[in-house]
Symmetry: C2
């Protein structure tokens, strides 16, 4: 029986300017591409002549299962993820659904993740140790999220918040602001980036004190909270690495 | 006076397969490219006909100053960094050396960072909250590094260690293993990747118990320590996100 191939492919945030050559090659060689609608749009130019498996938000399990069926049926299959597929992406779920032989054969292709892409738009906030925390409590308990926020705040990590707030879920976002205010100055720089590298991109630099009142923060926004040495200048958010001193 | 442009450009880890189109474009349009020798080699094909400013390890300050001179002299200047230029890279130092007007004009182009690139080679270890910590004590006190290791261990973060060990500096690496062993099972999966996406790439999956005895771990190695739910199967390191449960 003809054996298929399976790759989980990171397409980076926003436009094709962040799509690596390695990811592009895998997509060009694919017979089947599976992904969430908005991510497929982002690589529209590469979809021609391929079988496309599209599913909506929260359709992750279904999408992975359908992609695996195609792979098992002998086809060159790619499952795409926005940003980096390994950061809150589908690489883990696909591996969980595979047999050990299939796991060993899976290719995961890395990409630009939101944390570094948004950092670049803000300046250089991530040049020191950092923590990445998702505030979505769909798959993680609020208790664990709060614990991690406390550890990140206490450890003086620059902290990146993914999925900070949704219409239904606002509590953890204001709780995050409270937790960091207990450990850092109210004037600590905070950067907010919405729709990075897309039409409608919005980049804002403010302070920790102002964070909780930013009502436009939503699931498409990434939040970067500086450490105790982060400062702003020229409209940029800068964490010194210490070369100067 | 003709005004130059200045960009800090991430070239990703290893080979050109991880160089984004946005970064490539900036490099192609540059008149001057500055960087550490090994990073310049990585983009050798793009250097022709340009003024090249090369400097050795620890020549960061000199390299940035020379690049700034070129920019101030009116030239299109790129300063390159391996992996992502914002993660322990030079984006911060360049901004520190600039006037506010220059800071506002600086472009930082993001890239694939070691954490996600090495994660992809290992499978899917980073699909949940994670912390990134450099063990280099050249610019950070040992005390602060140890504190952050403790917070990351206690918060059950998947933890990525950059610059884990050098010939002269071994203590913090074994100390990191000790700290994590105090909070996690000895069987916690640990992934080690050396020379990612380069000739001589080495990928190893082991356990926390075995970590400190890996004597080949050096400054070119990235270490990923799983959280309490990370498991290994089919030779891959997998952190479940919870979709399955």
């Amino acid at each position: 029986m003809k054996r298929g191939t399976m790759a989980v492919v990171s397409i980076g945030p926003g436009d094709a300017g962040n799509l690596t050559p390695r990811a592009r090659e895998a997509l060009e060689a694919a017979e089947v591409i599976a992904g969430y609608g908005a991510y497929l749009q982002q690589i529209d130019a590469l979809l021609g002549g391929k079988l496309i498996i599209e599913s909506g938000m929260h359709g992750e399990l279904e999408r992975c299962r359908k992609a695996l069926e195609q792979y098992r049926g002998g086809r060159r299959t790619c499952l795409v993820s926005g940003g980096d597929a390994g950061v809150y992406g589908l690489a883990g779920l696909v591996l969980e659904l595979m047999s050990p032989e299939e796991q060993a054969a899976l290719r995961v292709l890395p990409g630009v993740t939101s944390a570094t892409a948004c950092a670049a738009l803000l300046g250089a906030p991530l040049t020191h140790d950092f923590a990445v925390i998702s505030l979505s409590d769909l798959l993680t308990s609020e208790h664990l999220i709060e614990k991690r926020l406390k550890m990140a705040a206490e450890g003086d990590f620059v902290t990146v918040l993914y999925n900070p707030q949704s219409i239904k879920r606002r509590r953890l976002f204001s709780r995050a602001a409270e937790i960091f205010l207990a450990h850092r100055s109210p004037s600590t720089p905070v950067g907010l980036v919405r729709e990075a590298y897309r039409d409608g991109q919005r980049v804002m630099l403010g302070t920790l004190e102002e964070l909780a009142s930013q009502n436009w923060v939503d699931m498409k926004t990434t939040v970067l909270i500086g450490n105790s040495e982060t400062f702003s200048s020229g409209g940029r958010m800068i964490t010194p690495r210490g070369y100067g001193g």
